[in-house]
Symmetry: C2
Subunit: 214 residues, 2 copies
């Protein structure tokens, strides 16, 4: 098999196993076994298990990064925000093992720690930009202190809703209803700060999405 193919096979197999069983519970032998290659071969393509994790994180970054860049030109449309959140959850779901063991992975792998801190900072900025855009558009009424805190709350939700949901339902946000509800909860944390009539409009839209899904 070509060099590149086996490498890709190892990566996709690892991702699947990590997501399914949690990264700490998946050994390099499991990966090799599942990919139908030898343990030695795996270590021909990757220096270490952490190397696989890092490469998967890079793949995640290249998919996720574009999604939080667009927020700069303020998203004032409810549908746009909804759509952006939906894409974000989708991509994070594909790499959910990263969020399930966030503390341990960053504690163990310095490179990942730096990269993840940077990502979280940019994601927070993206959330703040969205709030700011809504404020400038006159839709959002909120003081500076609360805007900062709301940005933190949103970041917390975006970071931990996947493992949180997995505590209750196995598979977590694979269930697309659960995902829709997760997004709705994020949006409903913002709409109370809207002035009328946008508040009611926005709530109505969110409620409609909700009823369509369940």
């Amino acid at each position: 098999m070509a060099r590149r193919d086996t490498r890709e096979l190892i990566l996709s197999t690892s991702l699947q196993l990590f997501n399914g069983y949690g990264e700490p519970n998946v050994t390099t032998n499991h990966i090799a076994d599942e990919a139908d290659i030898s343990p030695g071969n795996l270590y021909y393509h990757f220096r270490s298990k952490d190397d696989i994790v890092i490469e998967l994180f890079k793949r995640f970054l290249s998919r996720f990064q574009p999604l939080i860049g667009i927020a700069e030109d303020s998203l004032t449309q409810a549908e746009d925000l909804w759509f952006q959140l939906h894409l974000s959850f989708e991509v994070k779901g594909e790499f959910r093992f990263l969020y399930r063991n966030l503390s341990d992975l960053t504690g163990r792998i310095p490179d990942l720690d730096r990269a993840m801190r940077g990502l979280l900072a940019r994601e927070r900025l993206s959330a703040w930009n969205s709030l700011n855009g809504l404020e400038l558009a006159g839709v959002l009424q909120i003081d500076e202190v609360q805007k900062e805190m709301l940005a933190d709350s949103i970041l917390l939700a975006l970071t931990y809703w996947i493992p949180f949901s997995e505590l209750f339902e196995p598979g977590g946000l694979d269930n697309s209803d659960a995902q829709t509800r997760a997004i709705a909860r994020v949006l409903f944390s913002v709409t109370p700060h809207f002035r009328e009539p946008e508040r009611s409009q926005f709530n109505a839209i969110a409620t409609q999405y909700l009823s369509n899904s369940s």
Copy 2:
């Protein structure tokens, strides 16, 4: 040393190390070493490492459980809610290793999984009861769907704010300013649903707490 003393020493040493380095990174040998006893002695007092975790969880439960019971008789006073949240964060902080590796611990230890699920369910009910009390008192204006979602959001925050804060500042909520801000963010997710004048009053109180701390 008396049987009971050594057992307690193992528990307190374990708790300290688990909180400091994360449970997966602390071995039974580390614990024995730090407690100045032999590894064999540790296993005289505990069947397994998981047994230590379970016992620590029981201690946590006995401290935490009373805090979420009192919410039944509706807490309509801002100061009461603030105080209750403060106590909750305090106790969780003392056992923060449980929340740092929640998924892995529950995935590995069935007894803990059951107990933690039950606890989360009761904690959510407690949050819901508080919201309901505020609604019955006429302070909170919110529809049923949003009330359910808000309860979920609060539970998420109460569950993950400790590991979340540790991502940014080592020690996390040991820093009491960070803890105060975390509580403020939870409260600020509720106050937007208040009617006036309670909304302004409540926000003013929270803002005052904030400025006193930082």
